[in-house]
Subunit: 309 residues, 2 copies
């Protein structure tokens, strides 16, 4: 395994119970770090950092290892219970209803990077407490591209720490509701310019069924469509898969050009579109590189209307 | 004026009072037929059909004529008052608040086409009572491409007549809320397939700031981004301008290929993006062909990530 282009991913590892119009799963593999790591692993080796309890099935760790994901950064807490989330989706499935959040071992999560992770060049801080995201940044002095995700809970509850993280990252993934909440600006173009002022060079706004938009410096530089799916089985992990696909492709391509970042956004959309077609990590488990390449080509056809002048 | 490629447009001609965070206008030129006719006129000659009262300023008719729009189809009712709408927008400006709707002469509108309009090949039925849309269809036996718009009011209030119109048109413009209301299906891809079953070969879903999506037969064939504007002065007429730009380009290009329809969607988006930058028809009044071409090119750059394989 080449490790120079490995992606370091820090975040939640979970057992999720999810109900949608398409079905139900109980305590299935989930968590932001898991979705994003598996998505990234289609392009580059991954180093995952997280915490689980003794109840976490060994088969899940084996699955991650089988995907070229280094799991030495997953702490297993003796006698502990794994983070558990239970929720459901209905209607347009854009918003989850949370039924239960049991933090368990995740409550005391303090990300400690294994020594050989600390030289990581590509770092993704999945959606966790921004104070923990800062601790990861302190341990990764060689990072060349750092991306972060966040959520409404931290925007309102830990705004100061979140602003500190924003100062230190290159890319932020954020959805349209969150960016409006963070900036208190309704217009997305002006909201993105405001976030750019807060630190990140690249602001990527995820809009679910409406695709994603990337702002480079203070300008909108790329709009990606969403892939037209007739059925979304389970939206859980869509944003994480997007971020993982993006980071994996960036790490694989190595060069941080706008061209590569645009392609990375489309690979992110591609991975997200596959992930939601089944529950948990089930679609990724049977996903092939050929399927990814075919859908990436379809993304090209969907938006094409005339060659550049 | 060549008339073989003229676009026939039937709909409202209005005097609008609009308030937005950017300002206010009182009894300014408006109406679906006006916005769509002026947008179409950048590409092809237009024949407009509508009704106004004696209070309708002659300068507005002169403006339309100056744009290569045949206004002989606009009836002026002696002693009558022009349709007046008053409304405001706030927040994300996606939804107007209506303060007043005075139908006036529009209440008794019965579209009667001038004899030389009846051979029209390109027909746009702007948002009016579907029973009136049917009367227009009866008068245009040579139509090769008929497009329609509608709204929630007719979807709930005149569903049967609306379904009759849908059977007889080639293209329907509809927004995401309306298509869900019409089909009672949340998933847009399946909703569009359902509308295709109702008649139209092309279903174009307008999503405001999220762009537009075209379904050709039962498949999503094109997704267009929206142009990133830092400020929307007045969203009134955006959908009408979109439809007008689309129809104008289709009439100009003549050939109803998927390639041309995709370009027409982008020209529609282009015209809509200009229209919302000022109140009433003000932006169109100073819009140049060079500006349209430049923004069309920007639409290409915004979505480009790699050439087709």
């Amino acid at each position: 395994m080449s490790s120079s282009n490995a992606v370091l991913i820090v975040g939640s590892v979970a057992l999720d119970s999810v109900q949608t119009p398409s079905g139900v799963v109980e305590r299935a593999l989930g968590g932001a770090a898991v979705y994003s790591s598996v998505a990234a692993s289609f392009f580059a080796p991954v180093r995952i950092v997280g915490v689980v309890g003794e109840d976490f099935p060994k088969e899940h760790l084996d699955f991650l290892s089988s995907r070229n994901i280094d799991t030495t950064g997953i702490q297993v807490i003796p006698g502990g219970k794994t983070f558990h989330w239970a929720g459901s989706y209905e209607g347009d499935m854009n918003q989850a209803q949370t039924h239960a959040t049991e933090l368990n071992v995740f409550q005391d999560f303090r990300p400690e990077l294994p020594a050989d992770y600390k030289s990581s060049i590509f770092v993704f801080l999945a959606n966790i407490d921004p104070e923990l995201q800062l601790k990861v940044l302190d341990q990764t002095p060689d990072a060349k591209l750092v991306a972060m995700d966040t959520m409404n809970f931290w925007i309102t509850g830990k705004r100061d720490a979140l602003l500190e993280v924003l100062k230190r990252v290159d890319v932020v993934f954020i959805n349209d509701a969150e960016i409006r909440q963070l900036t208190r600006i309704v217009n997305l173009t002006r909201a993105a310019a405001k976030v750019h002022e807060m630190g990140p060079r690249y602001v990527i706004v995820k809009k679910g069924e409406h695709g994603a938009v990337m702002y480079c410096d203070d300008q909108m530089c790329f709009a990606a469509a969403s892939y037209p799916l007739e059925e979304v089985a389970d939206p859980t992990g869509a944003g994480d898969s997007f971020a993982g696909g993006f980071m994996g492709y960036v790490a694989k391509s190595g060069e941080l050009t706008h061209d590569n970042l645009r392609k990375a956004v489309v690979y992110g959309s591609t991975l997200a579109s596959f992930n939601v077609q089944d529950f948990s990590l089930n679609r990724f488990k049977r996903l092939t590189k050929a399927e990814i390449d075919n859908r990436y080509e379809e993304f090209k056809r969907i938006v094409f209307f005339e060659p550049l002048a």
